[in-house]
Amino acid sequence: MFRQLAIIIGCLAVGEFITWLTGISVPSSIIGMLLLTFLLKVKVIKLEWVETISNFLVKNMGFFFVPPGVALMLYFDIIGKEIVSIVLATTLSTMLVLVVTGWTHIMTRKIIKRIKGKKL
């Protein structure tokens, strides 16, 4: 368990270092995640070295954002004023993403099949 935690926190520390060094606006945690995937892929880190703690953290991810969500109580006035635009924009956009993502997936598959078919 000690090694597991050290690896996860270590990847995060490297991510923080890279964002500090370069000033890019990619979250440090995303860089840490890509680093972890890379280290697993090149077999510097074995899966069983991180599996238990990462399963726990991923499964309970929702819990960790209860406290930041509570900060909502500070913004009731903004939300109250703009509730209509917030709800309309998010629902319409979510519907669009659902359909467009699915269509793109289907279309690209078809196009690739056709290209491969011509080659054969």
Binding site: I8, C11, G15, S25, V26, P27, S29, I30, G32, M33, L36, T37, L40, K41, L47, V50, S54, N55, L57, V58, N60, M61, G62, F63, F64, F65, V66, P67, P68, G69, V70, A71, L72, M73, L74, Y75, I78, E82, S85, I86, V87, A89, T90, T91, S93, T94, L96, V97, L98, V99, V100, T101, G102, W103, T104, H105, I106, T108, R109, I112
Partner: protein, 234 residues
């Protein structure tokens, strides 16, 4: 002795947060209701409790920061499921990446444009941009572009529940029937909550949904600042 002094105690507030979330998860399991989201219920309960007990947010934040410290390590941990799915990405590289790129672009541009059209203020527009991706990533993106992360957190949960409830119906109207396409759409549009809805339809749905959840998270984290710059918002 004033009980109010004890109500400010770190360990009491932490126990209460743990307890409410645990109970909410238990109730959802019993009721099988997607609307009864444990995250949303816990946030609502804690806000009510703090208001009634007259504890200000800054006090709770000191206790709560011990919990949300783990958000970033949790995002790093997503590297493990991503690693496990690398083989399916290799297998179907182009369709997956194309649909993710388009889904990510449409998600950000449409919500920002619609919110501006409906007259939302700048700070709300910034908080909406990353609404499709999983909360810790969305909150970090909002933080980095100058929105309100906790507003994003609530919107993200709302988007997830909306996608989980209406997703399959919308996909049917759009004539999207393949399990892999349905799964990837749900994960892309409505992150972890959509993924859990996809899981219930089968393993292929679920695998593609978690792929969509992870990849759109990465794409959104990397692209949002640049897209907003191009749209002239930041």
């Amino acid at each position: 002795m004033d009980i109010h002094e004890y109500l400010n105690n770190d360990y009491f507030l932490l126990t209460l947060t743990f307890g409410v979330y645990f109970l909410a998860k238990l109730v959802r399991k019993m009721l099988q209701l997607p609307v009864f989201n444990p995250i949303l219920v816990s946030i609502a309960f804690m806000i009510c409790f703090l208001t009634i007990a007259d504890i200000d947010y800054e006090t709770y934040k000191l206790s709560g920061s011990k919990i949300d410290f783990w958000l970033k390590p949790a995002v790093v941990s997503l590297g493990v499921p991503l690693y496990k799915q690398l083989h399916s990405i290799k297998h179907e590289m182009v369709p997956i990446f194309m649909s993710q790129l388009v889904g990510c672009l449409v998600g950000i541009v449409s919500v920002v444009a619609l919110a501006q059209y409906f007259g939302a203020s700048r700070i709300v527009v910034l908080s909406l941009a990353a609404k499709s991706v999983t909360t810790p990533i969305a909150m970090e993106v909002t933080q980095s572009i100058g929105g309100i992360p906790s507003l994003t957190a609530t919107i993200v949960v709302f988007v997830g529940i909306f996608g989980a409830i209406t997703g399959f119906r919308i996909l049917k109207y759009g004539h999207i029937g393949m399990p892999s396409s349905q799964g990837i759409s749900l994960g892309t549009a409505s992150h972890a909550v959509g993924t859990s809805a996809a899981m219930e339809h089968g393993m292929e749905h679920g695998a593609y949904a978690s792929l969509g959840l992870t990849l759109n998270g990465i794409f959104t984290a990397i692209l949002t600042p640049y897209i907003l710059q191009m749209m002239g918002i930041i």
